[in-house]
Amino acid sequence: MSDKRTEERNEAFDSAMREKVAGYEPTVPHALWNRISAELNETEEVVAPSIPLYKEAAVTPRWNMAIAAAVIITIGAGSLLFSFNGNNGINSTPTAHNTVVNAAPAVRIPVSENKTVAEATLTVSKQAVVIAKNDKPAKNEVAISVKPESTTPDNTAVTAQSNDDSQLASMPATSQNNYIETGNVPVSALKRLSAPISLNDEITVIKPAPSKKKHHKHGAEEETTTKVIVIGKKYDSAPDIRYQVPVRF
């Protein structure tokens, strides 16, 4: 058989095979779709967990950040409260531009008359006028430990310089009053001072007269002026913002 004839016969065979196969559509097993559907379900179930894993991975840092933020806020709030309420540290040279606006109510601490306290001579270096505004809440206040001028003749302080409330509370009574007042001298006027207030400075604390309403109700009350000497100053950890120095009238 020649190659050409063989080729022709092969082509005829191929064509017949194509025709025979072309229209062939066998019956498909009935349960095959269930198998396909089950496999598709399995595939989807395998893929599905990747979604929550991704979400979890995205959420976890947020929780960490939330916890970190809560800790920071707590610490910040605590430190703010502490700085407003506590007397921490000592400022040796407060400056006038470190202004304090309002005053806190003075606190009276009874002191025993018989308590002996070492005396020290203080030298007044400068004078200043401090206007007290006790009717406003304390905010960024400068508190200065002072003593009444009248009780300290010749610029001699009745007590040693003290830098904390406990020592100030142990200061002896003066002839004018039988107690020592510590508190926050509002020194909003300090901003007007040309020089910083330092220890042993003599300042005049002027307590403004009560408001007009109070004036009418309780009769005439004038502003009071007290000359005091700074014997201690305190401020918190942010001296540029707030001073707190016990004061004694």
Binding site: E7, K20, V21, W33
Partner: protein
């Protein structure tokens, strides 16, 4: 199966539904093309159960990749290529190309076209399945799918000459089997050509 459900959707609607993963549309698509694709699988498989597996794998691939269909050709042709490629993957896993003498002009001398015409299609499928995987795959790709020997060589990783020789041998064996299947049409001589 295809007659059991009469889809009232257009082909585009069917495809769109399958892209969304809707099982109802997927089942409609399956019933539309399963019979034709099962025919493809039976030709490439060596037995019925293997054809079932190929059909299952093929449809899973169709549903997973249906969003890649670009409507550039016929959808049935696209599905068919998936099934053919899936079958070729199985061929590569079970590559079984017999070493044969390179020849292209080989035909069974006692084959008669009438035998093929009278042969039942199911029986023809069984004869095709009885070929070794190499013969069967190359025969299907060249004769039924219409690929050239060059394309087959690239698809299967063989030379064109190998593809031609395998085809010639596959064709010879099929003709012989058909002749033997239909003895009343033509009776082959006792002596067989050496294969």
């Amino acid at each position: 199966m295809a007659a059991a459900i009469k889809p009232t959707y257009t082909e585009q609607e069917l495809i769109a539904g399958c892209i969304t993963g809707d099982r109802k549309f997927q089942e409609l698509l399956y019933h539309t093309y399963s019979s034709k694709m099962f025919s493809v699988c039976l030709r490439y498989a060596n037995e019925y159960s293997a054809a079932e597996d190929l059909l299952q794998e093929g449809f899973v691939k169709v549903f997973k990749n249906i969003e890649k269909f670009r409507s550039e050709g016929s959808f049935e042709g696209w599905i068919r290529r998936i099934f053919v490629n899936n079958s070729i993957e199985h061929f590569r896993k079970k590559a079984n190309l017999y070493v044969v003498q390179e020849t292209e002009a080989l035909t069974y001398e006692y084959y008669d076209d009438n035998a093929l015409q009278k042969l039942m299609k199911d029986d023809l499928m069984k004869l095709i399945q009885s070929l070794s995987s190499g013969y069967r795959t190359i025969f299907n790709l060249y004769v039924i799918e219409g690929y050239s020997h060059k394309e087959i060589g690239e698809m299967l990783g063989v030379t064109e000459g190998t593809s031609k020789s395998q085809l010639a041998r596959a064709r010879y064996l099929l003709q012989k089997k058909i002749a033997e299947q239909m003895p009343h049409i033509y009776t082959a001589p006792d002596q067989e050509a050496s294969i």
